[in-house]
């Protein structure tokens, strides 16, 4: 057993922490308020190589491990959950499936600019009537010569609208259900591919969430990842890795809220002493700290398993389930410790509480994670 | 045999800097305990007329080093002539002000004389026949007492505006000794000097400082501070947040990465009181905080606090002080 981070992982953590605190922190509240992301931050993250942490150098990445990636996402989320989801969705949901399932030509064409941060990526999976049930996608792709014609919509697409490159899961043969699915790479600007409404959300308000609309959108066959019939497989494998980054995001939000509450409890005085002198507050802080630490260990363990090439479907589901619920619980407590100030936008904990909720929902709700875990242990 | 306390008499544009008097008073105090004399070294061009006046502040002897090449401070020329003088006279201690010049010169002279140097001291005393200096470290979060037991001279720079100035003794003159300079090798050429023109006192020497923070909301609002500063004869300072936002120049930043100040009165408006800011001003004698956030950390260090919007408080404060002073 060795729980010590490597020298590189320590330096990465420190670097991303400094960056998040200095560059993102001062903008987080305003971006949330305006429901808009300051994309100059994206350019800075690209310069630092945060846009391609886990990919090989030959594809423009930093060739770091998933533990490093999880640490980076956590540190971003500790300051601003929206920034962490921009990176997480870009990396885990778009760049990764192209890396894992794309051919060499596709990697050169799509993965390299994604990893270098020249392009922003997104995944089109969820539909009005298909989310975690990836086999039920309705967006149809019909072969026409050397192309496919796409028709249908995708909803709640993170990085939608702003994204340049989309991995889109489609149905090529409804009768075959999930075996009749495929995954395509579609670029922004392709005729017939437009954006619907922008979602206005409870939390992660700075990140873009859009509807994708495909109307007779012609996509060449060479944009298909893996083979016809592999769409479901691509989606499932992508979600496996995605869970680690959402778990890391949840840990980061919780850590940020815990630190805010800890600091505030020491300076806020009531009845002539800091509120941290009250056992009621002390126990809350102890529980918050313990849960965050437990969530982090589950998260880093699942990242470690992935780095070791071991199965981690169950572990990453456990990490996401626990970290998300921890994040919600801890942020609610943090608002409570701040009292009235916690409910006001003067302090960041109310934003953190709103941001935390999404981690229990996207990339598989907590209920879906329980299905994954129970399927695994009852098999 | 080392003897005497030597003080660097800092002058600029023909005017002796206040820290020089502070050094002479401190020098006199320790010299009398050690049974030694206090002398000063005055360097520049056409500065000999200033030498006599140093006697009133306690200098028994003033070494004057004059040369055209010494008109503007350069590290090389000043280090050459001052190190030569110190070598010849072998004082027990050589004290300088911890100004930009004093700090720069002290390091070069200390190394040339192969001795120790204590920077930015806030007190000096004699204990068991040894000169002991007090200096803050970790931006004022800890304090050390330190000495230089063997190497001579003992060298230190003293923070301006902290040590008291004794009442000058009118008519007391100092023996003036003109020292022919050997300017030596000067490798640095000064191409241009840009003076910051301000009618207000310099931050590190000011008796009163009016300082603004993030709560000022923008550079246009510094007028409120300037108005208050004008009625008080104060300098204007700012926290790092204002400098980072580009509202005010770095030269007026107070704090760990800016200036360290010790005025009699420090008025902090819209400053939350981050530890880095406190590092630069917590040795002020009286601190006043104006902040609308009653929880702001600055109130923990303030002698007087007003919880309220600075945009309402400052204009009234300016008017009231004007009335009191009328």
């Amino acid at each position: 057993m060795n729980f010590k981070l490597t020298e590189e992982q320590e330096l990465l953590r420190k670097t991303v922490r400094d960056f998040a605190e200095n560059e993102i922190g001062p903008k987080a509240a305003e971006m949330d308020e305006k429901e808009d992301y300051d994309w100059s931050l994206w350019d800075k993250m690209a310069d630092m190589g945060l846009t391609g942490i886990v990919f090989p150098e030959k594809y423009g990445g930093a060739e770091m491990d998933y533990v490093s990636y999880a640490l980076a996402v956590e540190e971003l989320a500790r300051v601003d959950a929206s920034s962490s989801v921009v990176i997480a969705a870009h990396t885990s949901l778009c760049s990764w499936p192209i890396y894992a399932f794309g051919n060499e030509e596709q990697k050169q064409r799509f993965l390299v600019p994604l990893a270098e941060g020249k392009k922003l990526g997104a995944l089109g999976l969820t539909e009005p009537s298909a989310g975690s049930d990836a086999g039920a996608v309705k967006l149809s792709a019909v072969a026409d010569g050397n192309d496919y014609i796409l028709n249908g919509t995708k909803t709640f697409i993170t990085n939608g609208g702003k994204g340049d490159i989309y991995v889109v899961v489609v149905s090529t043969d409804k009768a075959k259900k999930h075996r009749g699915t495929a995954a395509f790479v579609v670029e922004k600007g392709t005729p017939g591919f437009t954006f619907g409404k922008k979602e206005h959300k409870l939390g992660i308000r700075a990140s873009y969430t859009y509807e994708l609309v495909f109307e007779n959108c012609r996509v060449p066959k060479e944009n298909m990842l893996a083979s016809d019939g592999d769409g479901f497989k691509v989606a499932m494998a992508t979600l496996d890795g995605g869970r680690i980054s959402i778990a890391a995001q949840a840990v980061g939000i919780a850590q940020g809220a815990y630190e805010q509450a800890l600091a505030y409890s020491k300076i806020r005085e009531q009845f002539g002493r800091p509120i941290s002198a009250n056992q009621g507050i002390q126990w809350m802080l102890a529980d918050m700290h313990t849960r965050v630490e437990a969530a982090r260990l589950l998260t880093l363990h699942s990242a470690y398993l992935r780095d070791a090439g071991e199965p981690h479907t169950k572990e990453s589901a456990m990490a996401k389930l626990y970290a998300a619920e921890c994040s919600m619980w801890v942020t609610v407590k943090a608002v409570q410790i701040f009292g009235g100030y916690g409910y006001s936008r003067e302090y960041p904990v109310e934003r953190m509480m709103r941001d935390a909720k999404i981690t229990e929902i996207y990339e598989g709700t907590s209920e879906v994670q329980r299905i994954v875990i129970s399927n695994s242990i009852l098999r | 045999m080392a003897k005497g306390i030597l003080v660097f008499a800092e002058q600029r544009d023909g005017k002796i800097k206040k820290v020089t008097y502070e050094l002479l008073s401190a020098g006199k105090k320790i010299a009398s305990q050690l049974g030694e004399e206090v002398s000063a070294v005055l360097v520049g061009k056409g500065v000999s007329s200033l030498a006599g006046g140093l006697g009133e502040y306690g200098a028994d002897k003033v070494y004057v080093i004059e040369n055209d090449a010494l008109e503007n401070y350069t590290t090389d020329a000043y280090a050459n002539v001052v190190a030569d003088l110190v070598k010849q006279n072998e004082p027990t201690a050589f004290l300088l002000g911890c100004s930009i010049t004093g700090r720069d010169l002290a390091a070069q002279v200390a190394q040339r004389l192969n001795t120790g140097l204590l920077t930015d001291c806030i007190n000096v005393m004699v204990e068991n026949g040894q000169i002991v200096f007090t200096r803050p470290i970790y931006a004022g979060k800890a304090i050390i007492n330190a000495a230089i037991p063997e190497a001579r001279p003992v060298m230190a720079t003293i923070r301006p505006n902290v040590l008291p100035v004794d009442e000058p003794q009118a008519g007391k003159s100092a023996e003036v000794v003109n020292v022919p300079p050997n300017i030596g090798n000067v490798r640095i050429t000064v191409k241009d000097v840009i003076r910051q023109v301000s009618a207000r006192p310099e931050l590190t020497e000011a008796d009163i400082i009016v300082s603004g923070g993030r709560g000022m909301k923008g550079p246009e609002n510094f007028k409120l501070l300037e108005d208050l500063a004008d009625v008080l004869g104060a300098a204007v300072g700012a926290s790092r947040a204002c400098v980072d936002a580009g509202w005010v120049p770095l030269s007026i930043q107070v704090g760990q990465t800016g200036k360290t100040v010790s005025p009699n009165l420090y008025i902090a408006a819209g400053i939350s009181g981050a530890i880095q800011h406190l590092a630069g001003m917590s040795s002020s004698k009286v601190i006043v905080a104006v902040n609308k956030d009653a929880e702001a950390n600055i109130f923990k260090s303030a002698d007087f606090g007003v919880v309220g919007d600075l945009f309402e408080v400052l204009p009234v404060l300016t008017q009231e002080i004007k009335k009191l002073k009328a």
Partner: protein, 255 residues
């Protein structure tokens, strides 16, 4: 251009200082590269980008100070040298002597450092190094151009700033405002471990303990007395402001 950057590892500026056994405690303190030295490293990298050449980072400190050197390597420096003096009884003359010895074995056109460290704030090590190596020094530089045989530096002086020209090699110390240090990139972090980092002791730079004995002796450490919180003047803003003016005159007798 052969560029040397002198760096120091310091406590984080937000570190809480406590005494342990009469000395400054190191427990639970996170360590960083002295922020002024970050400016020096950034400027070194900029000079390299403009003029070509290589950047060598030199530090004196315990083995854990390698973290600061690795950070500089991750930012883009080419190689690092750490000299561990093997004792905590060191002062500025000790450090300058060791640094100068380590640097003298290198080729250099310019030596950069922070003008002071945020821990002891001594602002004398780089100047001493210049003196030992018989080089000119320009302190508190906010703008630097260096090529061929000279450097032109804008530096803080008493009451303003000055533009100075100095022949190379020279020592230049960085003041805040010189630049915005870059963050190490992820690739930089991965490459840093492959770059040469020499760890040495006093003997490796041909010094012995007697040559670097500290001249300054610390007699004791203490924590500053906490400032007692004063009084908050009650009332509406205008009312309180008037009361404050009165208190400053009559109670504090300061205006």
């Amino acid at each position: 251009m052969k560029i040397v950057a002198l760096v120091k590892q310091t406590f984080d500026s937000e570190a809480k200082i406590a005494l342990e056994g009469g000395k400054i405690g190191r427990q639970g303190i996170s360590l960083i590269m002295n922020p002024y030295d970050e400016y020096a490293v950034e400027e070194a990298l900029k000079l390299k980008e403009k003029n070509g050449g290589e950047v060598t980072v030199v530090t004196v400190g315990p083995d854990e100070a390698t973290e600061a050197v690795r950070q500089a390597l991750a930012m883009g420096a080419d190689q690092g040298i750490l000299v561990n003096p093997g004792t905590e009884d060191i002062d500025e003359s000790t450090v300058a002597t060791i640094l100068a010895k380590a640097v003298s074995s290198l080729e250099y056109d310019i030596i950069l450092g922070g003008f002071r460290a945020i821990d002891d704030g001594s602002a004398q090590v780089a100047g001493r190094v210049a003196e030992i190596l018989n080089l000119p020094v320009v302190n508190m530089v906010t703008k630097l151009e260096a090529d061929g045989g000279k450097a032109v530096a804008t530096a803080d002086i008493e009451g303003g700033s000055a533009v100075m020209e100095v022949p190379l090699p020279a020592v230049i110390t960085a003041q805040k405002g010189l630049n915005e240090p870059r963050y190490p990139s992820m690739k930089g972090i991965m490459q840093a471990k492959k770059k040469p980092l020499k760890k040495m002791g006093l003997g490796d730079v041909s010094l012995d303990a007697s040559q670097v004995a500290a001249k300054v002796k610390v007699l004791n450490y203490s924590l500053p007395p906490a400032r007692a919180a004063g009084k908050v003047i009650p009332g509406e803003p205008a009312e309180a402001a008037a009361a404050l003016a009165k208190a400053l005159r009559e109670e504090a007798k300061i205006i």
